[in-house]
Amino acid sequence: MKRLLSKNTRRQTQTYAAVAAAFLIIQLLGGMGALSSSLKGMLVPICAYVVMAISLNLTVGILGELSLGHAGFMSVGAFTGVTCAVILQDLVPFAPLRLALSMAVGALFAAAVGFLIGIPVLRLGGDYLAIVTLAFGEIIKSFFNNLFLGVDSRGLHMSLISDNTHLEEGHSLIIGGPMGIGGIQKISTFTAGFILILLALFVVFNLVGSRSGRAIMAVRDNRIAAESVGINITRYKLMAFVTSAAMAGAAGTLFAMNYSTFTANKFDFNTSILVLVFVVLGGLGNMFGSIVAAAALTILPEALRQFSDYRMLVYAIVLILVMLVTNNDTIKNFLARPFARLAREKGGSVHE
């Protein structure tokens, strides 16, 4: 017991430490002016994607259900969070507090949507669940692409498809349908992103180590056995799904508040897939892996800038090759052979 507990705890501590170390190093480099401006501009998106990856890993790795619409929750968080920030602009002048409140609101709304979607969706299984999450992701995108929302002295006004808000003079729309949200005060900071990552890790690690997390993993490992020991499947599926949605919502707010303008198309199927790639490459259930994969793969296209037009092609090839190398035994053994020989030559067989 003690040994395993310490093994898990050690792993978690290492993850916290690695994140903190990365934060300090980047802050230090930034202070020394050693960071390129393009990299600086990517720090907040990286944090947002890291949180997205942690959050999706809860659904895919811990709960064991494939979601292809995770960007939908990010979208909900982005739109509701930014709307909240706009409304609070005068009420809460202190930007970090306003950001925190907005992220909380974004998380709350995303959680609510996750709950509403989760009730029907989680009855399905496997690829059917995947396609329904994809469908919800697209519906959320369509919804925000057609939502007009504004606020004036009479309160909040919204309409769908065409602008029927009839705002008073001097007030403009917050959400402008296909135009999305514009004129955002960029209050997201790297520090806020770092804190959000720590928070996400804290929630996931502690959840997994508790009674509820055990039940979630039991549902993943064997649904029928879980029911036979009296575990309410729907309850724990929903718990994981909603928690995951809430984190994605907060990440969405963080992400959106880093740009002066964004539209719903920013959070489409491709974004969902992008995050799924982070999770799969980082390893299912492996939070540290998710963090590394999300950070590395967000920087990679930037690092491939020298290939200019070819960079996305290179990205695609890298992706395919990594999947082949990590999942095909023949290729794996072939690549491992030189190392094995090296080990033998150094004396002693590898099997010992």
Binding site: L124, L134, S142, L284, N328
Partner: protein, 293 residues
């Protein structure tokens, strides 16, 4: 009369979805994988036909044949290089690989053919039939699309039911291990399935671009996702299901555009899918499998 005209364009669009969905469903049935690169094979087919006709001045029939041959080869090459090594791998790894292939095809197309939209010339001309004294007009593209879909369906159903290869496919989709023990060459069967699916994708690409003549490297993505939805809608793995799902999806989409809102039509389509899956969790014509306890 407008209703009838909407219905016909719905069936026409649905026929295209059905042809794409057939590719999805056959591949899923046999390889149990979501081939997200399928939509991009459509795009490749359309580009090849486009260049054959516009740059080399070849007649449409030759263009279509070239597209079919090229996509068939492409499909088999993709399967051989990217999917076959992962046959024993977890399904998520295969899914990500398929996404990688999809990115690869899109970006290759972008490099080869640029992102400038191409205006696709219709392969059957732009005229149409005028019925009811000109009140209802049906373009030849529509008629060709619907007929092609019907022919493909009939051929495919008799192929899977009556030929040796068709039976081998059904056996492989039931149980690959048992099929192999019965002397069926599983590798060849899967390869042929990909070949057929990709050939259909080429046909679908040409028809799609004849009806909606805008060709860009991402042309295949959304129809691909929708056709995949159609396949699930009808019950993934079932050939008649793909036809039914495709047709219904096309009709729903056109009606949603006509009577609800153009921008929200996709949302309506996906909402219907969700409702159908909640009522019938394995799709309209899908088989229910009971887990043995």
């Amino acid at each position: 009369m407008t209703f009838l005209s909407f219905l016909i364009s719905g069936i026409s669009l649905g026929s295209i979805y059905a042809i794409i969905a057939l590719g999805y469903t056959m591949v899923y049935g046999i390889a149990k994988m979501l081939n997200f690169a399928h939509g991009d094979v459509i795009m490749v087919g359309a580009y090849i036909c486009f260049y054959a006709m516009s740059s080399f001045g070849l007649p449409p029939v030759v263009g279509i044949l070239l597209a079919v041959v090229a996509c068939t080869v492409l499909g088999m090459v993709i399967e051989r290089l990217a999917y076959k090594p992962l046959r024993m791998a977890p399904s998520l790894a295969v899914l990500i690989t398929a996404i990688g292939v999809s990115y690869f095809l899109q970006n290759s197309a972008q490099l080869l053919w640029s992102t400038n939209p191409k205006v696709f010339p219709s392969v059957v001309g732009n005229d149409g039939l005028k019925l009811f004294g000109g009140e209802l007009s049906i373009s030849y593209v529509t008629i060709t699309t619907i007929l092609t879909c019907l022919v493909i369906m009939v051929v495919l159903v008799s192929f899977t039911n009556h030929t040796r290869m068709g039976k081998a496919m059904r056996a492989c989709s039931e149980d690959k291990g048992a099929a192999e023990l019965m002397g069926i060459n599983v590798d060849t069967t899967i390869s042929v399935t990909f070949a057929i699916g990709s050939a259909l994708a080429a046909v679908a690409g040409v028809l799609l671009c004849s009806a909606y003549p805008m060709l860009v490297p991402t042309t295949g993505s959304m129809p691909g996702i929708k056709a995949f939805t159609a396949a699930v809608f009808g019950g993934i793995g079932s050939i008649p299901g793909a036809l039914l799902g495709g047709l219904l999806l096309g009709i729903i989409e056109i009606f949603a555009k006509a009577y609800i809102s153009t921008q929200m039509s996709d949302a309506v389509v996906f909402a219907v899918l969700i409702v159908v899956l909640l009522v019938k969790p394995t799709g309209l014509l899908g088989k229910t499998i009971r887990e043995k306890v």
